[in-house]
Structure formats: structure tokens, C-alpha cells
């Protein structure tokens, strides 16, 4: 029995050996929350698409899943930096915003170029560091505005109707941005009346409960503006229970597969896919350009160091194109055009 376990041990070592790095290749590391996340694996696919544009055998991808463990994310990155020296570039979706400081310091010490998506603490920006190439995030204001306009135009009388608003977490930046976009759209559509506004806290079940209460209270709802797909799926369940799915229009944001399918089924007017392929692919393209000296963080324009990216609006009209480009195939981008992912620059206070 002990021999059997020793054999297991040897097999594990062999697997380790087989997957181990060989030679002096550049390591393109992608630090994500979890490999079970469809969206986070899009980052990896994007980085792999970029890898294919490099000469064969010169670089390899290493994925660092932290499984929602902040300390593990930092430990894994530090271990990687210690083992590869400067021969590494890094794309990070920080598990929580505060991780950014520790990662920035580790990369600065190791002189390793890196980029991040979504999270950064207030007041901590790439301008404070030489090796932090850029910070990117989806344009939440634009997302909130686009789904609102799509929703309003889907009513029997386009631009006229009564809506309910399902927010995410009140203190959350993404929610605040999406709400700002909604308010911009409401200002442009005076025929839209907001009946109620509730916080679903990004939670499917809470959104379902709130919607059930709304459906008992209001009988003239035209649509529900919802700030995320997770909550939208709860809304759809509540509408289905009353036979109102497709009749009461609803929206989402994030582009998870269930929401994409709901758009196809007519239960959801639209969602916005955040396009992790583009974020991951261009993220490592920027870090690689800094690594090879093609760009310099000292001379880069500010708009390239902190910018918003556009998502892909998925509605009944664009769904076939989305399926073809993003589900049946991995999207192809020109990574020499580093301007492409920039929707607009972030304002820095």
C-alpha cells in the first residue's frame, strides 16, 4: 500500500515535471479569481490569443487562480516573480481592490511590468508606479445608459412606459456608474416613469423576492432596468411564475451564458458582455509592449494608463453576431493597435 502511495507521489511529481517551465521563455501570467468563472477564463483565452501572435516557443501562459483568497493571490504572484525574475509579464484581476497595493509593490521590486482590470483602491493609480502599465475597467456609465435605451425602445410605444429599477450594492462603484448611465438616459426620455428603485445587492434570490413584491404591488409595469445578469435571472424567474416573461421587459449586464440564452429566448431585452477576451488580450499586449521597450510608462499618454473598455451589447439583433464571434470562435484582434480597447480615459482626481 505504501508503495502504491509512493507511486502516486511519483506520478504527481511527473505531472509537475511535465508542466514545468523549460528554458528562458517569457511567462505571461494571468492572475484570476477562479478557473470556474466563465468570464475570468475569457481573460486567459484573450492572453492565449495574444500569445499566438508571438514567435513560437518564446513565451508561455501561466494561470494563477486564487480561488477568492486574497492572501493566496499575493503569495502566488510573489512566488512567480521570485522564480522568473524579470522574465515575466502579468495581467491581474485583483480579488479585492486593496490587493493592488501589495501587487504593485511586489512588481516594482521585481521590475516586472503588469496591468490590472476592474479593481483599484481610491488614490492608488498606475501613475505612482513605473512598472504598473495600466488600469482598465468596463465603462459602467455607458453600460447603464445603453441597456436603459434598449429597454425604453423595446416598449409597445418606444420611449414611453413605467419601469422599476433593480440596483446592485449601493456603495459599489460599478453600481454607481451604471446608475449614473440610467439617469442620463432618463433625462433623455421624459416619457419614462420610475415606479420604484430597490437594491438587489447583486443577489439572484433577493432580486427574485423584490420582483415578486413588485408584481403583487404594480400591475402596469412595462420594464425592469436591472444592473446585473445575476439579478436579472432572479427577475426572470419571478416573471415566469406569473407568466409575464417577455411581456415585462428586463435587462442585465455582464453577459453570462444564462443571460445570453435568456436574450435568445426573449426573456431578456439585452445584456452587455464585458468582453474578457479583449481585456485579457490587450492587457498582456500592453505589458508586453512595455517589456520589449515598444512603449514606456514614463512617456505613455495618461489615457493609455487608465481607461475604460467597451463591452458588447447583446440583444435580439446582435445575438447571432455575438454567438458567431464570441461563442463559436475566439475573437481576433490586432494587438499592434493599442488604442483599440480604449473607450474613454478615466478621470483622475
Amino acid at each position: 500500500m505504501r508503495k502504491l502511495f509512493s507511486a502516486f507521489l511519483l506520478a504527481a511529481f511527473a505531472a509537475t515535471m511535465l508542466t514545468a517551465a523549460a528554458g528562458e521563455k517569457l511567462t505571461i501570467a494571468v492572475s484570476i479569481r477562479s478557473m470556474s468563472s466563465e468570464y475570468h477564463m475569457q481573460y486567459v483565452a484573450g492572453a492565449e490569443a495574444f500569445l499566438k501572435t508571438l514567435p513560437p516557443g518564446t513565451a508561455e501562459i501561466q494561470v494563477l487562480p486564487c480561488e477568492s483568497n486574497d492572501d493566496k493571490q499575493i503569495n502566488d504572484i510573489k512566488a512567480l516573480l521570485a522564480s522568473r525574475g524579470k522574465n515575466v509579464i502579468l495581467f491581474v484581476d485583483p480579488n479585492n481592490a486593496p490587493n493592488v497595493t501589495a501587487i504593485a509593490e511586489a512588481c516594482e521590486d521585481a521590475e516586472v511590468y503588469w496591468v490590472n482590470a476592474w479593481n483599484t483602491p481610491e488614490g492608488i493609480t498606475p501613475f505612482l508606479y513605473e512598472y504598473w502599465v495600466h488600469h482598465q475597467s468596463c465603462d459602467g456609465v455607458r453600460q447603464g445608459y445603453d441597456i436603459a435605451v434598449n429597454l425604453f425602445n423595446s416598449f409597445k410605444t418606444p420611449g414611453k412606459g413605467k419601469i422599476l429599477v433593480m440596483e446592485g450594492m449601493l456603495a459599489n462603484t460599478a453600481n454607481a456608474d451604471r446608475m449614473k448611465g440610467l439617469r442620463q438616459a432618463l433625462a433623455e426620455y421624459p416619457g419614462i416613469e420610475v415606479l420604484d428603485d430597490q437594491a438587489g445587492d447583486w443577489d439572484t434570490k433577493k432580486a427574485l423576492n423584490i420582483t415578486e413584491t413588485w408584481l403583487a404591488r404594480y400591475n402596469d409595469i412595462d420594464g425592469i432596468w436591472c444592473a446585473s445578469d445575476g439579478m436579472a435571472l432572479g427577475i426572470i424567474q419571478a416573471l415566469k411564475a406569473k407568466g409575464l416573461n417577455g411581456k415585462v421587459k428586463a435587462t442585465g449586464v455582464d453577459g453570462v451564458m444564462d443571460a445570453i440564452d435568456a436574450v435568445g429566448a426573449g426573456d431578456l431585452v439585452c445584456t452587455i458582455a464585458n468582453n474578457g477576451w479583449m481585456q485579457g488580450g490587450y492587457g498582456v499586449a500592453y505589458a508586453y509592449a512595455a517589456y520589449t521597450g515598444k512603449i514606456s510608462t514614463k512617456t505613455m499618454p495618461a489615457r493609455e494608463r487608465m481607461f475604460y473598455t467597451n463591452g458588447f451589447l447583446v440583444n435580439a439583433e446582435t445575438l447571432p453576431r455575438y454567438r458567431k464571434e464570441f461563442i463559436e470562435n475566439v475573437p481576433v484582434y490586432d494587438y499592434n493597435n493599442l488604442e483599440f480597447p480604449i473607450a474613454r480615459a478615466m478621470e483622475v482626481e
Binding site: 505504501r2 502511495f5 509512493s6 502516486f8 507521489l9 506520478a11 504527481a12 511529481f13 505531472a15 509537475t16 515535471m17 508542466t19 514545468a20 517551465a21 511567462t27 478557473m35 508561455e60 501561466q62 494561470v63 494563477l64 487562480p65 480561488e67 477568492s68 483568497n69 486574497d70 492572501d71 493566496k72 499575493i74 503569495n75 502566488d76 510573489k78 512566488a79 512567480l80 516573480l81 521570485a82 522564480s83 522568473r84 525574475g85 479585492n96 481592490a97 486593496p98 490587493n99 497595493t101 501589495a102 521585481a110 483602491p121 481610491e122 488614490g123 492608488i124 450594492m169 456603495a171
Partner: protein, 340 residues
């Protein structure tokens, strides 16, 4: 059992059994150490940077919070009890420290230490005085401290503002006054001090020895009049302090108070103590050996990234290595062995 017809034989039998037990313990320690050495050699052969100064510093930094937690929980495990609240106490401590730097400055560390004492004491009193099973008592306090961490932080991860970085920058110190530390981080020195203090307490004081005795046989320990309740309360209090120290380590390392940061370390700390030879059934183990268990787990986790094991395979390889290490460390030759 003594044999009155052959007293010499009986005596020699006892001596033999004692020697065998010592030999078994020594072999177990040797295998733990040998496992670590084998892994160090393997990972270094695959990537020479593995044992470079930067990665040694990483390894020792990674070991530190788990070691502080594991030493505490090892005392509880010696009782034959369990502490499931350590991760939440660590999370709460990290959040409290981040918030308290503003109003208290350096005294924030003392405040968090006192919180650890209180949280551990609460577990001990619930278990020893109110007779709540440790599993239930600490499961309940786990929920309480986790919720407290969320409430205190407002459900958001808290970033330490740059104005307060002065309180945590010592974590990156490369020397202790005129004494260069080389690749040894200050966090590791503190964790090491915790381990030594806990070891001395457990092995040299009456209360410490009672922990071992009641883990081996609580009924017998009670009959001979040992201070059972006191030993239980002290063990849980020391576990709470270890968890609070781990929380401080997380906060100063990440420069933030994340309300979930300790969540995943409960089982890792318990597994590390078990790998270090502390019996989950109580009454057997050695605090100083816990560092071997912590070291083994950390070396495996760190090494897999250093040698670039595919992310999909990491959990499988980790599970297999831990299983193999546990199997090789444990002694199954005893005839009275019961596995539950």
C-alpha cells in the same frame, strides 16, 4: 500490564514499549522533515530560483500567519477539541487593525491582541464552563466574528490609507537595528516566537501538561484532580491570540483589512497541525513539530507556482502530495488503531 511472576520481564516490556514509541515519533519527524527536504531538492532542481533569497523570503512570509494559527489550534487539538473560529477571528482582527490605526496609532496592535484574548476566552468559557461542544461553540462564534467583520468594514475591503503605511512598513524591513535579517522576514520571527512561547507553555507548565493529559484521557485527568476547565480555557484563549496575530499579519502584509481574508485558513491551519503530527483525537503531538506541517503545505503551494504547474492540475497535485505526506507520516502499525 505488569506480570508479578516475572517482574523484570514486565519492566523490560514497558521500557521496550517506551523506546518503540519514541522511535516511532522520531521516524515520524524524520519523514516530515525528509518530505520537505525532498520537495525543496525537487523544486530547486526544476527551478534554481526556488531556493533563491527572494523566494525563501516569500516562503517564510507565507508560513508566518499559518504558523501562528496552527500553533494555537494545535493546543486545542491536543485537548481533543477543535476551533473553527480562527479564520473569522483573523478576518475581524485584520479589519479592526486597519480601522484602528487612525484613532489609536501603534496601540491598534494592542487592541487587536486584546480582541484575540477576548475571542479565545469566549470560546474557552463556552466550551469549558457552559459545556457546549467545541465544534458547536466555535462554529457559532465563527459566524459571529465573520458577521462582525462585515459590519465593521461595511461589507467592503478596507485599504490602509498611505498616511498609515508607517505602521506596517516594518514588515518589509531587511534588518533588525544593526543586525541584518537576510532573507528572514520580521513576520516569520514573530511567528517563530509565538511557536516557542506556546511550546514552552505547553511543555513546562502544569496547565500545559494538563492539556495533553486531558486529550489522552479526560475522565482520568478529572479523577486525579487536574485543572481541566482552566486548561481548556487557556488553550482556546491561546488559539484566539494566534488567530488574531495571523489577522495582524494579513493586514500588514496586504496593507488592508479584508473581511474574508482568514476564511480559508481554518482548515489549512488544522491540516498543518495534523501534518506536524498533532493527533486530531487529542493527547499526542508536539508544538515545535507544527512548523514542519506548515512548512510542507507552504512549500508545496509555493513550489507549484515556481515550477509552473498548470492551474487546473494544482489542486490535484496538492491533494495527492498532502495525502501522500499524511500517509507516510502516520503510524498505522498499532494493533489498537481505530480510524474514524
Amino acid at each position: 500490564m505488569s506480570n508479578p511472576a516475572h517482574p523484570d520481564l514486565a519492566a523490560s516490556g514497558r521500557v521496550y514499549a517506551g523506546e518503540r514509541s519514541r522511535l516511532r515519533d522520531n521516524i515520524s519527524r524524520f519523514v516530515s522533515l525528509a518530505s520537505i527536504v525532498a520537495l525543496l531538492i525537487l523544486f530547486t532542481a526544476m527551478n534554481p530560483n526556488f531556493l533563491g533569497a527572494p523566494n525563501i523570503r516569500n516562503l517564510l512570509t507565507d508560513i508566518s500567519p499559518i504558523l501562528a494559527m496552527s500553533c494555537g489550534v494545535a493546543l486545542v487539538l491536543l485537548l481533543g477539541s477543535i476551533d473553527l473560529s480562527m479564520g473569522s477571528i483573523a478576518s475581524c482582527s485584520a479589519v479592526m487593525l486597519t480601522l484602528l490605526f487612525g484613532p489609536l496609532g501603534w496601540w491598534a496592535f494592542a487592541a487587536v491582541f486584546l480582541f484575540g484574548v477576548f475571542a479565545g476566552l469566549l470560546n474557552g468559557v463556552l466550551h469549558a464552563k457552559l459545556k457546549v461542544p467545541s465544534f458547536i461553540a466555535t462554529l457559532s462564534t465563527q459566524s459571529i466574528w465573520q458577521s462582525a467583520a462585515y459590519i465593521i468594514s461595511g461589507g467592503q475591503p478596507l485599504t490602509l490609507v498611505p498616511g498609515n503605511w508607517g505602521y506596517v512598513n516594518w514588515v518589509r524591513a531587511k534588518s533588525l537595528g544593526p543586525l541584518p535579517l537576510g532573507p528572514v522576514p520580521p513576520l516569520f520571527l514573530i511567528a517563530l516566537a509565538v511557536m516557542i512561547v506556546y511550546h514552552i507553555y505547553q511543555s513546562r507548565t502544569g496547565t500545559g501538561k494538563t492539556m495533553m493529559a486531558l486529550g489522552a484521557n479526560e475522565r482520568a485527568a478529572r479523577l486525579i484532580g487536574l485543572g481541566i476547565d482552566q486548561a481548556k480555557i487557556v488553550a482556546f484563549t491561546l488559539s484566539g491570540i494566534g488567530a488574531a496575530i495571523a489577522g495582524v499579519f494579513f493586514a500588514v502584509k496586504l496593507k488592508s483589512g479584508i473581511p474574508t481574508v482568514g476564511e480559508q485558513y481554518n482548515l489549512i491551519a488544522i491540516a498543518s497541525a495534523a501534518l506536524g503530527g498533532v493527533a486530531l483525537t487529542g493527547g499526542r503531538g508536539h508544538i515545535l513539530m507544527v512548523i514542519l506541517g506548515v512548512g510542507l503545505i507552504t512549500v508545496i503551494q509555493n513550489g507549484m507556482n515556481v515550477v509552473a504547474v498548470d492551474g487546473f492540475w494544482q489542486q490535484i497535485v496538492f491533494g495527492l502530495l498532502v495525502l501522500a505526506a499524511i500517509y507516510m507520516n502516520s503510524d498505522r502499525r498499532r494493533r489498537d488503531l481505530v480510524v474514524k
